[in-house]
Symmetry: C2
Subunit: 165 residues, 2 copies
DNA sequence: TAATAACTTTAGACTAGACTAATTTACTGC
DNA sequence: GCAGTAAATTAGTCTAGTCTAAAGTTATTA
């Protein structure tokens, strides 16, 4: 039962509103997603049919366990991508969020896992960490001359040379 | 004049067919994109209206200069992402292509540029290159113990220690 | 408690993009 | 040069997702 990007957006928005307000109203979602109220009503009915939310007409909106599970997964993906874009690629936070928001519906779980592992490594690895350039992200601006070698490479090579003596 | 993902797919498919066959036919595109012939006809009319392809009914399909420009850009994005997924994250080539195919319509140019810079660095940097694990991609499996340090980090530290003596 | 405001839903229209079935056109081999 | 086949187009249908406008429901407050 694969949800469309659009329905995933609704579900995620509901989750995010509930995190702050304990229960969501249609208007909250409409504002958040910048769509008409009637579009929300429409989406809610579908999500109810899929047993992802609890919602009677004119009533508040809450998530079912399954809805919560899926929403959390979406939020997780969103955060992983936002993180990757800002931390590794040093993309500004608005663009990073926008990109995350669209690709989170597309990239399969296994691939997101790889992003997580990669991010973890970057954070744990001494050498990786050292190469992080404030405001530019991991390594992005690190290649500084025509020799195709960054400062860290050169340092490394010098050390290699010394330690091989 | 932003094209939809779907129209971009058609344009890219046309480009790829033309690369091999000098001119494309509707059936080629239909097979490539796995859609009905009539869907292709439909898309072609829109692309003609946008001056991205040359095509008279029942005739062959070629790209206009503008169409070529856009198609090339799409192919470029596709390749950058495929590269990133296979080379850095060590995703299998099918999945990598699928992911590339969907996010190429979404990620803005500036962000793709960052991916390129990142890939370039990974290829140029001695230390980065050394950490590439065959079959697992750059660094992915490099963190091997509870000390949160990979082999390369340790090596590096040992060298640091020796060279500081 | 009645009026009003705010919210929600319904009804109906529209668009993009796909499909099938029927028709039209172009090509190929005799 | 014509018959048969392959390809392309047209016509019409369907779905998902959006919208506006109107009507219905709930909540607030005088």
């Amino acid at each position: 039962m694969k949800l469309s990007s659009s329905l995933e957006d609704y579900l995620e928005a509901i989750y995010n509103v509930i995190k702050v307000k304990t229960a969501a109203r249609a208007t909250d979602i409409a504002k958040k997603l910048n769509v008409a109220n009637s579009s929300v009503t429409n989406a809610l009915q579908i999500l109810v049919n899929h047993d992802l939310i609890n919602h009677a007409p004119y009533d508040i909106i809450t998530l079912t366990p399954e809805g919560t599970r899926i929403a959390k997964q979406l939020v997780w993906k969103h955060e992983v991508f936002r993180d990757f874009f800002t931390t590794v690629l040093a993309i500004d936070s608005d663009t990073a969020n926008q990109c995350a928001c669209s690709i989170e519906h597309i990239i399969p779980d296994e691939v997101v896992e790889r992003f997580v592992q990669y991010l973890d490594f970057e954070r744990q690895c001494e050498y990786g960490g050292k190469r992080w350039v404030e405001g530019f992200g991991f390594r992005r601006n690190a290649v500084t001359d025509e020799n195709d070698q960054c400062e860290v490479c050169k340092e490394g090579q010098e050390k290699d040379a010394r330690s091989e003596k």
